[in-house]
């Protein structure tokens, strides 16, 4: 199969040259053209702009331009107090707000050194895994759209709607929750939430299988993604990739296992790495597969959370929230596994003010996207679209 892909490339006068580099043979005289893709383009997932130098259908080089959604998060974090940052953190990676909040709260709690009630921990893990599924559904759905299949996208969004309903029921908002607070959660889970979540899990499992049959196993989809956008593991690490992107390159690295934050060490789940049978390790298909497999793992985690969650008698979700959050002077780098990779917060506190002196968000998309230039070299335009889709960028997090 992969040989087939190569032969197709060779017909377009592109020959691989060592590590992912290609040489475009000049057997015909042709001119380069600069193609400006974005910031308003259906496949750039927002407002990314790619300046592509193209030779016919072949992209010689694609230079990403960011900043079209630069919303000054870091400036804001310096002006509002610690709990006030949470809503802005929500708006960074708007597809996985719960995970963002978790990362931020972990960083601040590390600085504050406070103990979190156990039920709060379980609630946090539960909602962030629910949100992880929702986020992966969007990633898979939009990837399908990028490759021209519209129906899987709508199936993904239909199922995501149930997740949003669940999260709205718990937190009060559909997308940007402000639910996980420093030292607790905003509210306890509503009555019946646990049963409904169980029902969701049993509802979603067959849908995931259907999605797999409809999209992932489709030969055209495989042909479009297999062997496209190859990234070897060592280069991926050098680029600072994390999350499904790095796992797609075959590195078994998941912060939920490595850092073991929250109650993840107690939960039984595996780190999803492609086995290399269905896909070539490091290509776009692997990254897609990792996301699809992670949804299943998240379902497992959710089930375990529901089973292990301590009772709600006398539980106050805000009990551990400090009245006045003013950490002592120091610096901290706290991180958590976002659906897109490692989301870290470097927070610097001077011990005097109630707002951080410096709050840098190490966003996973920003780092993952930085390899775009290398990934896009010598690809076809349709492959470029497939590669952007497989990176699964959220511009809110890239530009912050």
């Amino acid at each position: 199969m992969q040989e087939l892909g190569k032969s197709e490339q060779s017909s377009l006068r592109v020959t691989p040259q060592g590590k992912g580099r290609v040489l475009i043979e000049k057997d015909l005289s042709s001119e380069e053209m600069v193609l400006n893709m974005g910031p308003q383009h259906p496949s750039t997932h927002g407002v990314l702009r790619l300046e592509c130098k193209t030779d016919g259908e072949v992209v010689i080089e694609a230079e990403p331009y960011l900043g079209y959604l630069h919303r000054c998060f870091e400036k804001y974090a310096e002006t509002v107090d610690y709990p006030g940052v949470v809503p802005f953190v929500d708006r960074m990676d708007y597809l996985a707000s719960m995970n963002n909040d978790l990362a931020y709260c972990i960083a601040v709690e590390k600085l504050l050194d406070i103990e979190i009630p156990r039920r709060v921990e379980f609630i946090r893990v539960l909602v962030s895994e629910l949100n992880r599924i929702a986020s992966h559904l969007v990633a898979i759905g939009t990837y399908a759209i990028d490759l021209g299949a519209f129906t899987p996208f709508l199936f993904c969004f239909r199922d995501r709607e149930h997740l949003l309903g669940l999260l709205e029921w718990a937190s009060g908002a559909r997308m940007l929750y402000n639910y996980i607070l420093i030292g607790g959660v905003a509210e306890d889970l509503p009555k019946g939430f646990i049963e409904r979540t169980r029902e969701f899990v049993s509802y979603f499992r067959p849908k995931a299988v259907e999605l797999q049959k409809l999209l992932t196993e489709n030969e055209i989809f495989v042909k479009r993604t297999r062997g496209v956008g190859m990234m070897p593991a060592d280069v991926a690490i050098n680029y600072g990739w994390s999350g499904p992107m790095l796992r797609g390159s075959g590195v078994e690295w998941d912060l939920r296992k490595i850092d073991g934050y929250s109650v993840y060490p107690e939960l039984d789940f595996s780190v999803c790495v492609p086995d290399g049978k269905f896909s070539d390790i490091g290509d776009s298909l692997s990254r897609h597969l990792v996301r699809a497999m992670e949804m299943e793992e998240s379902l497992k985690i959710i089930e375990q959370c529901l089973d292990m969650m301590p009772g709600e008698e006398g539980f106050n979700p805000r009990a551990a929230i400090p009245k006045r959050i003013r950490p002592k002077a120091g610096e901290v780098y706290g991180r958590a596994e976002n659906p897109r990779g490692e989301l870290g917060f470097y927070i610097q506190s001077d011990g005097k003010s109630t707002s951080p002196l410096r709050c840098k968000a190490r966003s996973s998309c920003f780092v993952n996207l930085s390899a775009m230039k290398e990934l896009s070299m010598g690809q076809l335009i349709p492959d470029l679209v497939a590669i952007i889709g497989s990176i699964d960028i959220v511009l809110g997090e890239v530009d912050r």
């Binding site: 259906p42 079209y68 400036k75 804001y76 002006t79 969007v138 239909r158 995501r160």
Partner: protein, 190 residues
């Protein structure tokens, strides 16, 4: 106002009925340009997706500005993006409408104070017809906003400009303060 305008503005039957048919066509086929910028874009996608399905109203997203009638500015417009927003707006053919979706494009939203790189409201650069509040607005809110656009299209006629139509609709629609009063009474009674 010219002589012809004066005559037309009297709304004779023929002109109004043709106008009504034309307005019906326009409001039944509002093709928006999917102008996803930020968080609201996801809600816009959710509105287009199965659960709310904007296609019920004939609202069918196009990716080229040339074929769209409506620009849904969904998300934060930044300084870097502002010029492109203007450009895309200018690429759209008349008659065109702009719906500002979400706090950020209404007035800069959460970023209105210290957001050095955020445009404080898309209405500073292009004329906006309907503002949909929310951060992000629920799909229902967006549909409500689109219904408002349809009302506006219905109101516009030969001799009634967009501004006049908005003014008329504004008078017709409930004052939010009144609405709150009613809500307050409701809250008090329960």
């Amino acid at each position: 106002m010219g002589l012809l305008d004066a005559n037309i503005s009297k709304h004779n039957v023929l002109v109004t009925s043709v106008d009504n048919v034309m307005n019906w066509a326009r409001l039944s086929s509002l093709w928006p340009m999917g102008f996803g910028l930020a968080c609201c874009a996801i809600e816009m996608m959710a509105t287009n997706a199965s659960n709310h399905d904007l296609e019920r109203f004939g609202i069918f997203p196009r990716s080229s500005p040339r074929q769209s009638d409506l620009m849904i500015v969904a998300g934060t417009v930044t300084m870097k993006m502002a010029e492109r927003v203007i450009r895309l707006y200018e690429q759209m053919p008349e008659p065109r409408y702009v719906l500002s979706m979400g706090s950020c494009s209404n007035c800069g939203g959460p970023y209105w104070k210290h957001g050095y790189h955020v445009l404080k409201g898309v209405d500073k650069i292009i004329p906006v017809d309907v503002y949909v509040p929310g951060c992000p607005p629920r799909p229902e809110s967006l549909i409500g906003g689109l219904m408002k656009i349809q009302e506006l299209v219905r109101m516009e006629q030969i001799g009634i400009s967009r501004e006049e139509a908005i003014k008329k609709l504004d008078q017709k629609s409930l004052d939010p303060a009144q609405l709150i009063q009613g809500e307050r009474k409701g809250a008090l009674t329960t």
